[in-house]
Structure formats: C-alpha cells, structure tokens
Symmetry: C2
Subunit: 342 residues, 2 copies
Amino acid sequence: MNQKLGRASIRLEQPVYIIESASIVGTKEGEGPLGLLFDRVGKEDMFGCKTWEEAESTLQKEAVGLALDKAALKPEDISYVFAGDLLGQSMATSFGISTYQVPLFGVYGACSTCGESLTLGAMSIAGGFADKVVCVTSSHFASAEKEFRFPLDYGNQRPLSATWTVTGSGAFVLGGEKGKSGKKARARISAMTVGKVVDYGLKDSMNMGACMAPAAASTVEQHFIDFASQPEDYDKIITGDLGKVGQRVLIDLLRKKGYDISEQHMDCGLEIFDAQSQDTHAGGSGCGCSAVTLSAYILKQLQEGNWKKVLFLPTGALLSKTSFNEGMSVPGIAHGVVIETI
Amino acid sequence: MNQKLGRASIRLEQPVYIIESASIVGTKEGEGPLGLLFDRVGKEDMFGCKTWEEAESTLQKEAVGLALDKAALKPEDISYVFAGDLLGQSMATSFGISTYQVPLFGVYGACSTCGESLTLGAMSIAGGFADKVVCVTSSHFASAEKEFRFPLDYGNQRPLSATWTVTGSGAFVLGGEKGKSGKKARARISAMTVGKVVDYGLKDSMNMGACMAPAAASTVEQHFIDFASQPEDYDKIITGDLGKVGQRVLIDLLRKKGYDISEQHMDCGLEIFDAQSQDTHAGGSGCGCSAVTLSAYILKQLQEGNWKKVLFLPTGALLSKTSFNEGMSVPGIAHGVVIETI
C-alpha cells in the first residue's frame, strides 16, 4: 500500500478521476484569449455583492455549485471540500463554502493552493477516506489588491514584471470512479510531487514570477528525480502564474540542472490574458488563475486527446502585507500534479 | 480499504502514532497552571527576534526542531509538514518551516488548525503516502493582536467574554510504528471527525467562545452519530479554546441534542491560564493553545494511563480584520481527533 515515491512524491495505485469541473471568471478574463472556454463570465466584477470579498466568496460558491450540477451531484454526495484563497484568514473560502455544509479542510499555499487542494483531495480518495471530494480555489483582482497593496488609489505605475490577479474560481469534483453510462470523467490524477518553501531572498513583490521560479524549479527537478522521468515524458509542463519573467528564470534554472523544458513549458498566467492588448504586463496570477485555466483549457486539451499527460504545477508567492512591510523576502512554493487522459 | 465512516468521519484501520511532540510557550503561559509541563518557556516574548511575526516563526521552528530531537529524527526523515497559524497568508509557517526544507502542506482552520493538521497528517500516513510527518501550529499574543485588533494602543477595556491569545507552538511527529527499543510513542490516533463551517450569525469578535461553540457542538454530535458512541465512551472531550462562555454554550447546545458532556468536557483555554490571577478573562485561545496543551498535558495524561481515550477538538473562529470591519458574522469550525493510550 506504499504509495510514497522518492523524497516528495506520491504515485497513486488507483487513479483518482476529475469527474467534473467548473470555471467562473470576471469581465477582463472573459475578454482574454480563453474567454469563450469559461463556463461563466460575470457581467460585472462585484457579482451582485456589496464588497470585493463577498464577490470572491460568491465566485467560490458558484464554481462549486456549477461543478456539482455538471456532475449531477448534491452537496451531500461530497465527503470533503478542500478549499483556499489569498485573503487573510482565507475569508473567501469560509463564507463561500459554508452554504454547502460539507466538512471543510482549509488549505493555504498562496497561488499554489489549487495544486495543494488537488493533492490532498486525491490522497483522501486514494486512501479510502472519502468517496467524492471537491477542490476549489479563487482569487479576485480587487480583493487581492486591497489585501496586498492597500491603499490602492496611489495611481503609481506598475512595473513590467508585475502580474495581474485573475478574478475567478475553479472547482473540481474528484472521485475514484471513471464515470458511468456515457458520462466519462474529464481526466485522471496519477501522481503528485509536494513542494517545499524555497527562498532565494528576493524581496520584490512586484516581481513575483522571479520569486516563485526557484520553487517551481525545485519541484520540477524533484519530480523528475522521484519518477526518473524527463521533460519529454510530458506533453506539457504547466506552471500556475510565473508570467514572462518567471518563465525565463524557471527555464534557465532547470537548464543548469540538466533539464530543458523550453519545449514543454506553458504558464497559465501567460495564457489567460493577452498581455499586449490587455495591459497585464508579465501575465495573470492568483489562486484562481491556474484553477480556471485547468478547468477550461487544460482539461479540454486532455479530454480531446491533444495532450496525453501534463505536469500541472501551481506556483505560490509566500508574502503578506505585514511580511513585505517588515522587509522580509518573498519565498515561493509549488505543488505538482500529474494529470492524464483517461 | 474504506476508512470512511458516516457523514464526516474516518476510522483508521491501522492506528497512527504520535511518536513524539514538543511545546514551547511564552512567559505568561509559563506562569500559568501548566507552566512546569511545557518543554521550553521563553525568557521574553520576542524570542530574540525583531518583530512579533518573526518571534512566532521562531516558535514553530523551535517546536519542530525539539520534537525531531526528542524523536531522534532528522528533517530528511520527515515526508511532509502540515502547518498553519493565524497570521494573514500564514506567514509564521512560511518563514518558520522553510529552514527544514521538508515538503509543506499549509493548512488553515483558524484555531482549529491543530486538529486539521493532525487529521491530514494521520490520513497521509494511514493511506501509505508518507512515512513520518510533522504537524505544527502556533499563535502569538502580540502578532495576533496586531493581526486582528490593530491599532493596539487604544487602552480600551476587554470584555469578560474575551479570550487571551496563547503565545506558543506545539509540534507532533506522526508515524505508523509504535516505536522501538524501549522508546514507545506517546499515544495513537484512531479516528477523526472533520468539521464544517457553522454560522449562527454572531458578530462579536470579543466573544469568540460563543461564536465557535455551535461548530464544536456540530462536530461532537456528528462524531457521536458516525461512531454510534456516547459521552461516556471518552474519558475527556477536550475543546481547544471555547473558554468559560463557549463551554456553557456547548454543553447547553449538546444537551438539547440529547447528549450530556458536562462530566467529560474540558477546554484547553480554561486549563492554560488561571483566569483570576492572570487576568485572562474567559480563557486562552489561539492556534497554539490547543497544540501546547495537547503536547504538554493531554498526551501526558494518556501516557500515564490516567485517561484511555479522549476526543480532542480544536475550535476555530473564522474571522479576519476585513470580514469583521465589513460587518460579517464570525462562523466557527471544529475538527475532532480521537487519541488513545497505546
């Protein structure tokens, strides 16, 4: 029953299936290159709420509701929810998920949280602790700006290395069964590599790509070692939100370790916006960025057979307004999940 | 291999052992009724650091280091760390745990995080995903006051229902083996009940006991249902930090459900301080409160055979400064872990 592999990895003996998923995004994301693929695009970014935080809670609530609907499941069918967001004390999750009255594991790994929630969710099913679980994460441009960069009304210029927090939430229903009566699951999770905190001492919160790239490189390298695999074994190696700058750093760092992933690498933050026309600089970011891209775009490619196997690797920058103001560095973390066609 | 039980519970087929543990606290906790039981008491509450946040990180770092030392283990022997704290974006964890370079699962459940981390840690071992893991949580009076109640220098009176955030961190090494050559594990985890968010609409952040009690009642009731058990089946039913007010609410709520736990109930927040002489009002609270009490006091009672089986139930109040200032309620959550003598 030992499903542990190498230093930081898990190989699932029985695959865990992503039965269904849902994505809901804000207006700007709806206007981006992936706009037509999302399940729901908000008409305005308050989503009918009074505060940005409530709006983000609504994103999580609706993403979970939609994923359950698509899977023809009720909240009672779900053993646990694994959920998180970027707000202090994960408030979007607490208020967003409470509606469903499902036992909750709150998780936090900054923008890597989607990978962490899928990892723990898959473990809970593969270990026989749950029948079906939901994994959900969210971010909201305005609540994130308020959380990390308040006061907002400075009117200061954003450097070109800065990323744009995605307004969106992606929810995933996981289960041990491939599906029934013509309704097949979207994909399967076959393995995971858990990230550690990597701190290169960088302090520029306006260049989170560079802060997170060393963590991504560490997890990718550990993954290759643990599975004795090579970049060519994956159709895509997909980071969460490294953006333009972080992508370059990641590819360079891994080249020094003897791995060339330049062919396979893709970054959700670079896919979700058209940086040029949408003025998003280095790319998209946030807990929602990788989650909605996985649901709307990556799983679609796997389902259509365009890709067979990807390493999905959400990346997180571990900072708070307090740690930043106190002059601390911005460490990174990245959790890898191998997702394959069924 | 189905270890799922009822709506929200897990019965471990193979017990998971708490191999070792460690507790480190601040000066005030050292002067309290449990003072002599803690492994380490700080000489001053900055623990040699420049900021309160760094001090809290140091607490986590030292608690983990001490637990590993006591277990004669190195960081390389640990598959994963499950860790969390109360600060925005879990900063005490990010900076406290990075030293060890162990793959990290960040978790958040407010002051219930100790229960959540033990639950996930035990699942990772029982599922064959890990050899040994460390679960650690922390809180610090000053970093919590700054996080939740800044500006601090108001000089306003604290109501009698308010609790006092514990400065401390408790770390637990879990593994699948009972121990070897005369060195027995401290106790074993046999079951868990995962809590859901329960919101009675209370908004008083100075009465967190009342805010959390409905969540504690919900998890205890679910536990009794899932295991078809009764209060008498446990030597103690131990909540994390309900304090005086919350304790009364919990006992009343459960009485209405047909369960009388008044004989078995104990609250870590009521044990850690002498409210009268230490001016802590309703009791202690915080992520560290239940963790250090478990390590120093509860496991000792189990080891000495005074108790055979307890339901350990850390309780969390899900609020942030933003949610509070925006007039939101304070929902609660509580995760239950059954801990038994070996």
